[in-house]
Amino acid sequence: MASAEPDTPEAAGERRGFIKFFCAFIGTLISVVPFGAGIWAYLDPLAKREGGAGDGDGFIKVTTLDAIPTDGSPAKFAVVADKVDAWNRFTNVSIGAVYLRLVDGVPKALHTICPHLGCFVDYRQGKNDFFCPCHNSNFKLDGSLAKGVSPRAMDALQIDVRNKTEVWVKFQNFQPGHSHAVPVS
């Protein structure tokens, strides 16, 4: 039997309101499912997870007093600690670095990361200052901004001398770009 011509598209378009609503609604719903699952998993980093480094108080043993130059110039020290990286837990790996220098025999610690946009700040021996090679921010030895685009001084880190010679630093990272230091959490 020969098939009859269907209604014109326009006529078809006027009828079956519910069917069309159903198609649009359910069609959207089931198409959203895989995206929903994907986005849920993608947002995983925003879920709070234990992590961080060092013992309970956040202090990490970095070096000894004797290793810091006595002339007051800063020296760079690697911060070594256990690190959780997604499924891995590494023991004793470098997680960052600090500049240490002695001020009247007392150690001071500065984070090596530029508070502007996170480059590694160099210590320039000749000029005896800190210099960020990315956007040319210039810091004095105490970390304060000499000139440049950085919104704040270099980040000072809490320091603690234990057992007379051990230098412990509370190592943490700060969000770049702000005028005051906000710890990364």
Binding site: P6, D7, V33, G38, A86, W87, N88, R89
Partner: protein
Amino acid sequence: MKSLLDWIDHRTGIRSLTREALFENIPGGSRWRYVWGSTLTFTIFIQFVTGVFLWMGYSASSGDAWESVNYIQNEMTGGWLLRGIHHWTAQLMPVLLLLHLMQVVIDGAYKAPREVNYWFGVLLLLLVLALSLTGYLLPWDQKGFWATRVATNLMNLVPFAGPEMQKLVIGGTEYGHHTLTRFFALHAGVLPGLLVLLVVGHIYLFRRHGITPAEPVIKRDAYFWPDQVFKDVVACLAVTVAVLGFVLWYHGAHLGAPADPSEPFSAARPDWYFLFLFEFLKLPFFAGENEVWGAIYIPGMAVGLICLMPFIGRWNLGHVFNVGIIFVFLGGAGALTYLAKQEDVAGENSANYLKAVLDDSRDAHRVTALAKAKGIESTALSLLKSDPKTQGARLFAQHCSSCHRYDGHDGLAVELAKADTLGQLEKRAGLTSRFFSGDAVHPDWLVRKSGTQNEWHTVRAILQAKTEGPFDVIAAAKPEEAPDAPDLKGFASRQWIRNLLDPDNYISARYFGGTTHKDGDMYKKFLNRKVRKYDAAEMKMLDAIAIALSAEAELPGQAAADQADAALIRQGIQYLEDNIGCIDCHAFGEPDPDADGPDLTGYGSRRWIIDFVKNPEHEKFYPDNNDHMPAFGVKKILTDKEIGLIADWLRGDYFEPPAADPGH
């Protein structure tokens, strides 16, 4: 709004395109049988979306693949859902492909001028199977590892350049990083790219030629929108519901234990839709040099035949022949699939197969728990390999269980759910249960009355004897020979020592009944001659001695009890030294060269067990009366690390995750 649409339409012609897409004429009106192509397009869409998101969590290296998949499955929020959808959609696709192919062949939709489109379809079918095959390896678990090795080894059989092709596909001669990077590139890049091209071509040609109406056409024509779209959407909804059902039921998708080239996996099987090919190769006809026929020529000819159907269909009875062939293939594949499964759950090797599935699942859970608690320093496999709970048992089964037992088995039994009644046991041992149920029991496995230490009997024997339950059930075969050395479950625990000090127990098979020690001084001069005549007060001393001696082991599971009973333990030591005369033959507290029984100092401690296993003939233990126990350390049968694993396992000295695990 309208002017914006006008603006866009003017530049893209989007309206006429939409109109064309929606108002395609369907001769004879919409039908349910036309939905398969749409459901397949929908599943491909799901796989693309979930695949890209999985990609964001996956790491294609042999030291990270399992680890990252485990992380997705068990640590990431929603990761199990994402992976589950990808996995179960893949499981469903072969079914939809088959239905689509059958609909096309039965309706004769392959006939001129639609041949090319039909071939596109066949290519798409093969592409999807290739995606399944490559995806199966990516989690780098035992199942995927061993099953895919079989698949790539078959490439060896390809005429002319087989071995070279195999080398290229796996990126060398051995499975490793490059196998994964190559498979991943195929799975997430090359094959999906080809798939998109072919799907676009497939749909374009389909629209060009229009639908092939299923005969007879009795209804009036209709447009694609909304009539057919409605049916398509309902079918896609059914697909989604089915997939989500599986995902929720299985909480994602199963991940086996990490791939281990040194550990056999008797349950390595390809995914279920390849089982027919797997079984096909087991046919005796394809033995030896004939294998290439089963693996390559015949499947190749079958695909060739399917491709030739448009031409065959031109002949008078060609179409009937084609439809017949599809059903013959389907019937054959179905029968082979059934045979494969039947052999696995009820064949000669079925106890092994089912046990391997359980072992793999146990190892997988174990390493997941370890990874969660400790993190993975190098690889998940090395984490598993240094775990006493699983590896100590393995080593015990291999090296100790020919003489010793562990609770009446070889150490590797997997504890199953109890069976409350005989009827329940019978049902779980039945074929239906073994085919479909997770708590199936093989008739060769072992049961005993719940709560007893009785000997284990096979399920088969119990079902014949019709003993009433409830039963403890373990997945383990009955050891072939009777034990001839002590059962070491609970070694050095209070109960274990107290039982040893009972004369009848001492000469039972559970202790020294199978050894020469049953005729030794401990039995003859002490247990038999003295202990049998002990009065209640002396028995109490023995109880205290058992507790004191057990404290020497410092068993982790007994730490609280040992601490609580400190006074009793001191008392027990006093009895041991002064009243009962243990130190006449045993050293205690200090070396005693004249002692001819084992040193009781630190009895059952880690150090003590390790020293004993290393050399039972050491003067501290059995210098003259060792009965057959090999010096595992001296003879270098076991390394120190391995002996340590056995000791830790026996002592229950290993990490246990907190009982409540909200993730599952």
